[in-house]
């Protein structure tokens, strides 16, 4: 039997609300299938399954909010016989066992943090009350049941909603702020950051981009950000020490180059979902995937793998007019790259002063995993990649 658990969709997630099952007991699933939708401070996320098999039973019902690591469903491995319903313990373990979803980051993401939500509620809830709770965004585990035998009724849900005040986008933003705050406080507390930056001459890249976009239809135009992400991927291949995770056992190399892209959300907050295998993708494909990722980040529909398996993050604040960005590492990653605004500067080339387009690139790196020399090589690799845009 495989226990399918609430994944950690990033270091700042402690709990999630199951919104909907996409699969039901008896359904066959294969790795990568979307099995459920979970609501978090960062919006509704589609949860993918990591192991193939047949759904034996679901343990958590829609509307329930449960801590990361809680068993959501039990999956029979191929050929396995149906199991005993009571075999599953509902309480969340402190850390998921090996093989749990999002295992690449769960160790680091959960380290030093206890699960505060406790076991999911098993109070009886009337179907109407469950519907009301979903509608009013009330966490059923926090509702006191006053119906027959302590069951939760619509009136109980409405009372809980009234006590909490009107729910709305403000609640979500406040929740996201506190989640980001917790993750960043942890990063600042635990990660000895080192910061390096360099100015990169972007003139060649921009000229190439202009001529490239001239011959492309509007739907296939490339943004400067796509070149940045690809250049970072090149650097990750050349200097792998900055691409991966820091866990209790030390540094682990990333299983690929999965670049988290910090995306600001309209109305406040941000998410950093991953573009996968950036080093192996062509710019055309990357451009499309990047556009799709931004769209889904802002409208909902990000997938669990994107939320949990970035091996390094890129933040691009140039659109805001910022000249340099020194970012905080998103644990358990060991580096984050910041791009500022592209500016025209007098630049000395072969003893002559020329106007050039320049961008400040910074890297924040975890000093436990690497040092200034490697981080410097990493920046140099980004620079080199951006001097040859046609081969990106």
């Amino acid at each position: 039997m495989i226990e399918f658990r609430m994944p950690a969709l990033g270091a700042d997630m402690e709990a999630g609300t199951l919104v909907q099952w996409h699969k039901k007991p008896g359904d066959t699933v294969t790795r990568g299938d979307i099995i459920a939708v979970v609501d978090t401070e960062k919006g509704a996320i589609e949860i993918e399954v990591f192991d193939g098999g047949v759904i034996d039973r679901t343990v958590v019902e829609p509307g329930q909010k449960v801590p990361v690591g809680t068993v959501l469903a039990v999956i029979r491995a191929p050929g396995e016989a149906p199991g005993e319903p009571e075999a599953v313990v509902a309480a969340a373990p402190a850390t998921p066992p090996p093989g749990a979803p999002a295992r690449t980051v769960s160790e680091g993401a959960l380290a030093g943090r206890s699960v505060s939500e406790g076991a999911p509620t098993h109070a009886r809830v009337s179907p109407a009350a469950r519907k009301a709770a979903e509608h009013l965004r009330v966490d059923l585990s926090s509702v006191e049941g006053r119906g027959p035998g302590g069951s939760i009724t619509v009136a109980d849900v409405e009372r809980a909603a009234a006590r909490r005040g009107a729910p709305g986008p403000a609640d979500r933003i406040a929740g996201m702020r506190s989640a980001i705050g917790a993750a960043m406080a942890r990063a600042k507390r635990e990660i000895p950051h080192l910061y390096l930056s360099t100015a990169v001459d972007l003139t060649r890249s921009l000229a190439w981009l202009v001529s490239e976009n001239q011959r492309r239809p509007v739907t296939e135009r490339l943004l400067t950000a796509v070149l940045f992400v690809k250049a970072v991927a090149r650097a990750c291949v050349e200097v792998p020490a900055l691409n991966g995770y820091w866990t209790d056992h030390g540094f682990t190399s990333g299983p690929g180059v999965h670049i988290g892209c910090a995306i600001a959300l309209r109305g406040g907050g941000l998410v950093a979902p991953a573009l996968h295998d950036v080093d192996r993708k062509r710019l055309d494909a990357l451009g499309r995937e990047f556009g799709d990722l931004v769209k889904r980040a802002r409208s909902g529909g990000l997938r669990s793998s994107e939320m949990s398996d970035a091996t390094i993050t890129v933040t691009n604040l140039g659109d805001l007019g910022v000249e340099s960005a020194y970012a905080i590492i998103y644990p358990p990653q060991v580096a984050i790259v910041g791009f500022g605004r592209v500016v025209e500067r007098p630049w000395v080339i072969d003893g002559r002063i020329e106007p050039r387009s320049v961008v400040n690139v910074s890297v924040s790196a975890d000093h436990r995993a690497t040092d200034g020399r490697e981080a410097g090589l990493f920046l140099a690799a980004i620079d080199r990649a951006l001097q040859a845009p046609e081969s990106l």
Partner: protein, 83 residues
């Protein structure tokens, strides 16, 4: 195609990327990119939406002419030969 049709398409493309924009309170001469905090991806999606609704492919070099609502309507009307 009339200027009014073009105007509607521009407003629709704009609210498509930034749903919080209230078309009624939109100042037609103010550059909207900074006012509504549109980043380069938003702007690209805006241009893609115009392409989808009006079948006009705006080259990158002309992006500055789409800066405000009135500017965009003038530019597109010119491109489309609107009355």
């Amino acid at each position: 195609m009339t200027r009014e049709t073009i105007r509607e398409a521009v407003v629709k493309a704009l609210t498509g990327v930034a749903p919080e924009i209230d078309p009624a309170s939109l100042n037609a001469d103010r550059p909207f990119r900074q006012e509504f905090d549109l980043d380069s991806m938003d702007f690209l999606n805006f241009v893609i939406a115009l392409h989808a609704s009006l079948n006009v492919d705006v080259p990158e070099a002309d992006y500055p002419r789409l800066a405000s609502l009135n500017g965009a309507v003038d530019y597109l009307a010119n491109r489309l030969g609107a009355s």
